[in-house]
Amino acid sequence: MSMDTAKFKNASPMAGTLRMDRMAHIWCPGCGIGSEVNAFAEAVKRSGIDPDKLAVVSGIGCTGRVAGYVDFDSIHTTHGRAIPVATGLKLANPNMKVVVFSGEGDITGIGGNHFIHAARRNMDIVVICNNNFTYGMTGGQVTPTTPHLAVSSTTPFGNHEYPFNLPFLADAAGATYIARWTSMHSRNLIQSIEEALSRKGFSFIEIVSPCTTLYLRRNRLGDGVDALQFYQENAVLKHGADTREVDIDFQGKIIIGKFVDKNKPTYSEALDERCVKVVGDDYELYGKTVPEREAEEKAEKERVAARRAAVQAEEEKAKRVVTKVSAKIPVKSSAKKAPAKVAKVTKASAKTAKKAAAKAPAKTVKKAVAKAPAKAVAKKAASAKKTAAKKIVTKKAAAKAPAKKTRK
């Protein structure tokens, strides 16, 4: 790495959480994993967790490479074994926060047994599952979550099997926190991961994500932007949804949200309770009694809270600086140049908006108008136009691509 490249990499806002010396990563353009890792890194930052006290364990596959890119203690395990390795790490070193970041083939296919048992034990780990409906690294084979009738390299005539509903599986097995997002829902995802990192017990976050190179291409669903557009239009937010009803059909609605959040003793808490009953209050694990370990945990929790507050304060400060700087821009910069740029942009956007308005389906606008309260009407109508504009672009792109197959 030349000095300039190193300097450039280290200037990245992710430099503290990602191993910049390992960039560029291997993921394809349009893949969802990159934005998920970004969300994860951001969530870790915001959570206030000490980066030295966080370990990431991955299995095999595209998502399996996450462990190698995050700047924490990390293990890239064999296929499917990320959860048991994480289990061992957590139990051996209870002060660590342990996160499993892997794909659905790894976690719920070859590692499915470990997944349900870790959930049953309420093992204190966070499992983030990138669900892209395909085995990407090996060339796009069918996985346990590939929707019925979707094409993969091993179901060339459409998937005749029916997929797992992962939140339901996790729920039935005993997971105490279950959420699903798509890779487009960055803000929700950051919040959700932060929440999972701050709680105890088995937390499962499924992230529906596009595999542009294989799943989208084979099913003629366009590129990464088309997938995000699809998520925007078809994701239905439903916190607390009954997990039995969150199946994903081929190109159907995707129910997202936090479905489960409940308290139950973790594996270690339950074990401690038994051992204290048998051995008495002298019971020690790795030379520490339960109250000693609890005190350590409390102290760490306070440190985390302090760090979290510091991060928040810094963000606030940064926001104020940004506001100040932007307020100063017209004064400092050349008055001629700046407005010209703005004008150009405005012109362009006006053009698009016009075009969009003309072509926008009347129904959408009408619907928005009818449903929205008076104040929000203008805003909603504008966003509807925007969406319509995007649609046109997508349609153009789609026209170039081979015709979509209809499967319903």
Partner: protein, 393 residues
């Protein structure tokens, strides 16, 4: 008593149940592990190794150790790998069918140079075979189980006392060479009750975990020089280690090239095979001037004693070479002895496994008679005696 290339410390008295005991080999293995400082055990029950597992479960709370019964052997060995990088010394026990499942991550442990002890209390196979009957059929699997080239250490006890002693040695070797060490016991030794004397803690030598403590920028979890004694690290120490089963550099990052693969594999092989003199331990009796040398291990070596005694009564000059270390194989000693004797007699409870190594190293310079005997029972000493008679002619 084995001498180690590194500093040792006295055992933590908490894990040492000093004094004379009457216990079976399986229990002695659990006690050996606790004495050696093992404080983490993830396993899955399987006959005839379950007693080790149960004893550890019972002793764990009073010693301050973690015990977890996993959902299968795949996860048991995986959890152990996680626990090592979490900072603990770990062990698991199993037998053939479970070992076959563990092989996947024994390979990962070898590749990532993760120290751990795996006991295989062998039972008759193949497949489910005869779960309660003895065998020595997994000798080659211990060496060749995981795919790809890698070198392992395997030790074979012949008594409950040695189950205790060798478990401590296994931990010490595994810590120094950062390699999985396999204890190849068998059902007979595992279930045999005998006197086991556990020494006081200060008389037990333990190789402590060697954790790196230098500056962050110089941290390297690996050094590919074909030697042992390199430091590792544990989660939470701030070094942000990365370990992977992929071919990697000394920082632990993947470097998937033919050149790097050669560097890594050469190191993995050399650190064991190149240090065979340090690792190999044999017990020899009356080898000087012998015409026949009986090469044996585990329970078979105790059956052979009777055959050797009977042969001596008949005036045959017969010696005994008991392999305490199975892998790396005692190549040099066999090569040395081959031209001096008439015959090696190799009794083992399998279709003929270690005899292949003896034949290879004898190189045609003396006869080699395999007294193979499929799983299910120990030999009749008479069969070994017959082979000794044949060999002496």
């Amino acid at each position: 008593m084995r001498k180690y290339k590194t500093k040792t410390v006295a055992a933590d008295p908490r894990g040492v149940d000093s004094g004379p005991h009457f216990m079976d080999g399986d229990h002695a293995i659990a006690e050996g592990a606790l004495a050696a400082g093992c404080r983490f055990f993830a396993g899955y029950p399987i006959t005839p190794s379950t007693e080790t597992f149960e004893r550890f479960a019972e002793r764990a709370p009073e010693v301050g150790a973690m015990f977890i019964q996993m959902e299968d052997e795949l996860s048991a060995i995986a959890a152990n790998i996680g626990a090592v990088w979490g900072g603990q010394k770990v062990m698991t026990v199993t037998c053939g069918p479970g070992f076959s499942l563990m092989v996947e991550n024994i390979g990962l442990a070898a590749m990532t140079e993760t120290p751990m002890v795996i006991t295989n209390v062998q039972r008759a196979g193949p497949s489910t075979g005869a779960p309660t009957l003895t065998a020595q059929q997994d000798m080659m699997q211990a060496k060749w189980g995981p795919h790809g080239d890698n070198a392992m250490i395997a030790l074979s006890p012949d008594s409950p006392q040695e189950c205790f002693d060798l478990t401590i040695e296994a931990f010490n070797l595994s810590e120094y060479y950062r390699v999985p060490v396999i204890i190849l016991a068998d059902e007979t030794v595992g279930h045999m009750h005998e006197k086991v004397v556990i020494p006081p803690a200060d008389q037990i030598q333990v190789v402590p975990r060697n954790n790196y403590s230098g500056p962050k920028e110089d941290f390297r979890p690996y050094k590919f020089d074909g030697k042992g004694g390199h430091p590792m690290t544990r989660a939470g120490d701030g070094y942000h280690f990365h370990i992977t089963g992929l071919t990697h550099n000394e920082r632990g990052y993947p470097v998937v090239t033919a050149e790097q693969n050669k560097i890594v594999v050469t190191h993995l092989m050399e650190k064991i095979n190149g240090n065979a003199d340090d690792i190999v331990r044999l017990e020899e009796n009356d080898i000087d001037g012998a015409d026949v040398v009986v090469v044996s291990y585990g329970i078979t070596s105790r059956i052979a004693v009777k055959a050797i005694q009977d042969a001596r009564k008949e005036g045959i000059k017969v010696g005994s070479l008991r392999m305490i270390t199975i892998w790396p194989f005692c190549e040099n000693r066999i090569r040395e002895l081959a031209p001096k004797i008439k015959c090696f007699v190799v009794p083992e409870i399998n279709y003929g496994q270690m005899v292949l190594e003896v034949e290879r190293c004898a190189g045609g310079k003396c006869k080699v008679i395999s007294v193979n005997h499929c799983g299910g029972a120990v030999h009749d000493p008479e069969v070994i005696l017959d082979a000794i008679r044949k060999g002496s002619k």
